[in-house]
């Protein structure tokens, strides 16, 4: 077909670029090449500003807390000490909760667990910045939303144990919480699905002339799903009152963020292409997170449209209890991570304010430890996973539909017969 047969011979060979993280097992991590803005450096546009005015911020990093624990610059939300102490307590609670539940899984008390170590500031500050009536569409790493909103730890644990106290009746994998009253939408196992759902909820709120807004959450890795694009597109088209958060914790199981496109652009920068306001925020800085979410929620609430926020952070532990990160990333990355530990940073800030000291901190740790232990004891009194599975079998056939159709009724009866035979007695 070609009339220029010699063209290709003179051309350079193409080559596929396969991104590779800077460090692999055996390497010594060194993050000095990551450019980090000084705290207070990034300007704060008006909440009603043109989206375009925010776009330079998508390649920077909104930070409030400096290395000495001082809150500086235009994004300083100037929170009162009580609020700060509540945030510290919530963040610490999340960490202790994670540790205990991780151990519970290791002890065989349940099948699965996922920590958010190092990312506690993000969910806790977001919950603090928004109204209790606002709706979250979270991923499995926003347990901090529930903690900050006062959802009972015991109930969270019961869900994890799939026991009698589990409001989801043992139907969901551990940590797939759901609670309407606390504005926490049912977590999906399928990555990304919640993102356009958040937009739809916000659209509904706007259709109804309500004042509640929604916040959708997604991980860096899951931004690659088509649902991410659906959410951004619908949010932009209908100017939905929604905040679309990307928690960039650098890893998606074993894939580093470059496999989701981070070598070429920040996740916040995705906003630019849709004409959505965009912010990129130090996710380990509780005040910066608070300020950014507050900004975006005010923007949404005043009909100024959606905001995409990238929270730049680091997944300090394995992906889940099924994962061992030493197989794919260098040891010590979490320690070397240049943005520090969010709990330590918030504590330092309170100390710098003169509103906190080591004594109170130790007392708080003790209090949290004992309340989490207490909750665990109470939850376990309602059963752990290995004891579940043969009580209240009819419940398993409910809620497929609003009413049980004939075929499920038949199957339920058959299942009960089988259980009777298996147990050697009438199932409870």
């Amino acid at each position: 077909m070609s009339d220029k047969p010699d063209i290709r011979a003179n051309r350079p060979a193409l080559a596929l670029h396969v991104p590779e993280p800077p460090f692999r097992p055996g390497d010594t991590p060194d993050f000095s090449s990551i450019k980090i803005q000084a705290a207070g450096e990034v300007p704060r546009p008006d909440v009603a500003a043109d989206a375009a005015e925010t776009h330079p911020l998508t390649t920077q990093l909104v930070r409030v807390l400096d290395d000495n624990g001082h809150a500086v610059g235009p994004w300083n939300p100037k929170l009162d000490p009580d609020t700060l102490r509540k945030m510290l307590k919530d963040m610490k609670t999340v960490r202790v909760f994670d540790d205990r539940m991780y151990r519970a899984q290791r002890q065989g008390k349940t099948s699965f667990y996922m920590k958010c170590t190092g990312e506690e500031a993000i969910a806790v500050s977001a919950a603090t910045a928004m109204d209790p009536e606002d709706m979250h569409f979270p991923t499995y790493r926003q347990q901090g939303l529930l903690v900050a909103r006062g959802y009972p730890l015991v109930t969270m644990m019961c869900q994890i144990y799939s026991n009698k106290g589990d409001p989801l009746q043992g139907r969901q994998l551990p940590i797939m919480y759901s609670d309407k009253k606390h504005g926490f939408f049912s977590i999906s196992g399928n990555l990304g699905t919640q993102y356009p759902q958040a937009v739809g909820w916000a659209m509904a709120s706007a259709i109804k002339g309500d004042s509640r807004i929604a916040m959708g959450w997604i991980g860096d890795g899951a931004t690659a799903e088509g649902d991410f694009h659906s959410a951004m597109t619908f949010a932009a088209v209908y100017q939905a009152p929604v905040i679309l958060a990307v928690v960039n914790n650098q890893w998606a199981i074993s894939s580093f963020s470059g496999i989701a496109g981070a070598e070429q652009a920040t996740f916040a920068a995705r906003a630019v292409g849709y004409g959505i306001a965009g912010l990129r925020v130090d996710g380990n800085d509780a005040l910066a997170v608070y300020a950014a979410v507050k900004w975006a929620s005010e923007r949404a609430r005043t009909n100024n449209g959606p905001t995409t926020i990238e929270f730049f952070t680091y997944r300090a532990e394995g992906h889940s209890t099924s994962d061992d990160p030493t197989g794919y990333r260098a040891k010590g990355e979490a320690e070397e991570w240049p943005l520090g530990d969010p709990i330590a940073r918030l504590k330092a800030h309170l100390v710098a304010l003169g509103e906190w000291d080591e004594e109170r901190d130790a007392a708080l740790d003790k209090e949290i430890d004992s309340s989490v232990r207490g909750a665990q004891k109470e939850a376990e009194s309602q059963g752990i996973l290995p004891q579940q599975g043969f009580d209240n079998i009819p419940s398993m056939f409910e809620d497929v539909y609003s009413e049980t159709p004939w075929h499920l009724a038949e199957q339920r009866d058959q299942a009960l017969d089988e259980a009777r035979e298996f147990l050697g007695h009438e199932p409870k």
């Binding site: 989801l168 939408f185 699905t193 739809g200 909820w201 659209m203 659906s230």
Partner: protein, 337 residues
């Protein structure tokens, strides 16, 4: 009572329900100002305003995904997928989210939505405007699947679907939007106005979900059909002078098994009919259920009339379509076995 074709009946169901229930929102590709490529939503935006009926981006995943969020808020999305062949980009949201939400949240969040979509062939639409993907949804616990075969049922079933607390996939046989089609592609097209089922009451009424309808009584065999194929089956039965009982399923999931069993136990023979690709179609589920539950009444194997296991080929539409001859041969086979 007004004479309506299926599109008009469906349009009227929208109108009636949108007036009764402010929480109903209608959206989809081209459904707003224009009123849909098949005109099913014509006039709704004008009547109910832009925030009750509007155009959506061309993203079936986004349409279903945002509808999930709206349902979570408390609205009742009534959405259109332009062609059933284009439902696949929304498949994850439908099977992983819509279908399972009530279950996975132990009833805390429900998904009272209707996903309408024109399906089926016979309009020279080629491979991607002719598909009948109902079996992909009947395999999915948590969904209801409804397929009307005439204007009266279309309106009544759609209203029932909108009022139903569970998510409903509502497939509309586009070949019979404008008139019942008996499978004789070489004969003139008949309008609905000549058919009594085009007498569609004004205002609100329902045809209940989960109830099949015996559209012809008979003794020789039972024919199970839905959508366009109801008409093809009825016509073949008349043409061949067969004393068949014909059941229009109307709801595929959950199925009205009682009506089916009663009939097959009476006739002792059964033919199941679908336009979809043969292997793994809903006809297989029907045949399996019938032989499981009526085996000792059966005098012959349950036979299937279906489309072929090929994509729907543009020029070979009438070789693919399960028309009068395929029907006749199958009827004979069941009767003579």
């Amino acid at each position: 009572m007004t004479t309506r074709n299926m599109i008009e009946a469906i349009n009227d169901a929208h109108r009636v329900m949108m007036a009764r229930d402010e929480d109903i929102v209608v959206f989809g590709e081209d459904v707003g100002y224009f009123g849909g490529v098949f005109r099913a939503t014509a006039g709704l935006q004008k009547e109910f305003g832009k925030t009750r009926c509007f155009d959506a981006p061309i993203s079936e995943g986004g349409i279903v995904g945002t509808a999930v969020g709206m349902a979570a808020y408390g609205l009742k999305p009534l959405i259109e997928i332009q062609f059933a062949d284009y439902i696949y980009p929304g498949f994850d949201q439908i099977v992983s989210e819509v279908a399972k939400m009530r279950y996975r949240t132990a009833g805390e969040w429900t998904m009272p939505m209707v996903i309408r979509s024109p399906y089926g062939g016979g309009i020279f639409g080629g491979q991607t405007h002719s598909q009948s993907p109902e079996a992909l949804f009947t395999h999915c616990a948590g969904l209801k699947v409804v397929i009307p075969s005439n204007p009266y049922d279309a309106k009544g079933l759609l209203i029932a679907a909108i009022e139903d607390p569970d998510p409903v996939i509502f497939f509309e046989p586009k070949r019979i939007y404008n008139g019942p089609f008996d499978g004789h592609h070489d004969r003139p097209v008949k309008p609905w106005s000549k058919n009594e089922l085009s007498e569609v009451p004004d205002g609100h009424y329902t045809v209940p979900l989960g109830k099949a309808k015996v559209v012809r009584e008979g003794e020789a065999l039972t024919v199970l059909a839905y959508g366009t194929m109801v008409h093809v089956a009825l016509s073949a039965i008349e043409d061949n002078g067969i004393d068949a009982e014909v059941i229009d399923l109307r709801t595929l999931l959950p199925l009205d098994m009682a009506t089916i069993e009663q009939s097959v136990k009476k006739t002792g023979r059964c033919l199941v009919v679908q336009e979809a690709t043969k292997t793994g179609g809903f006809a297989s589920e029907l045949a399996t259920l019938v032989q499981e539950r009526c085996f000792y009444h059966l005098e012959a194997p349950v036979e299937r009339v279906t489309g072929w296991d090929t994509p729907y080929p543009h020029a070979y539409e009438w070789v693919y379509f399960p028309g009068p001859i395929r029907m006749k041969n199958a009827l004979k086979k069941v009767l003579e076995a």
